[in-house]
């Protein structure tokens, strides 16, 4: 079993992202949506700790674009997905866990 963890809160506002990362089992994935996309910005305080190698990390492109980061450089191992990609991730992983 591998889990898709969805995080929607900015790590600068809530502890949700680090609380998720500290529990998520290896082999799963983290999908950042809504204000959580603020985590991935290069040079920001959270971009580095996201890339643990334990989970794949995805970020929802339309939420990134909404906040002015459509063209922003991201750490190499972070993948952009659109809503179709979001749907595909839900089907590819065995279980979905939303962290608020």
């Amino acid at each position: 079993m591998a889990t898709l963890n969805i995080v929607n809160k900015s790590p600068f506002e809530k502890h949700t992202l680090s609380q998720c990362l500290s529990r998520a089992a290896p082999g799963g994935a983290i999908l950042l949506i809504e204000d959580a996309v603020c985590a991935v910005i290069k040079g920001g305080a959270y971009a580095e700790q996201l890339v643990t190698g334990q989970q794949k990390v995805y970020v929802l492109e339309p939420d990134l674009a909404a906040r002015g980061f459509a063209d922003a450089a991201l750490p190499d191992s972070i993948n952009r997905v659109d809503y179709n990609g979001f749907v595909d991730l839900v089907t590819q992983y065995d279980l979905v866990h939303s962290w608020f």
Binding site: D35, Y83, V87, L95, V96, S98
Partner: protein, 130 residues
Amino acid sequence: MKIAVVVNEGPYQHQAADSAWHFVSAALARGHEINRVFFYHDGVNNGSRLTTPPQDDRHIQQRWSELARQHNLDLVLCVAACQRRGLVDADEKKRHGKDADNIADGFRISGLGQLIEASVEADRVVSFGD
């Protein structure tokens, strides 16, 4: 694949209601089945037909109702959450002696059992909240 969706927040205040709608739309477009959208907590506020958002803004309730009409979606508002927040259909109106109802087309009010049932029957459950 069969996917159940849970919405825990009302319209406009948080993005959760938007994200859920976009996700459901994309899943349907990709050929998946959404066996139920269950609105819990403030999520039941998505189902009020009395909203009039600004003309240049999206109409969240109408967007749900339209999607339900096109895809025969089952949009269920949790009855206990509705009672705390003032979402009323014809039955609830009668039962609690209210003088008005406010539920929109395509939504129905039912119990929490509908969340469990949808979760059991679905291959995946995806929640949106705050």
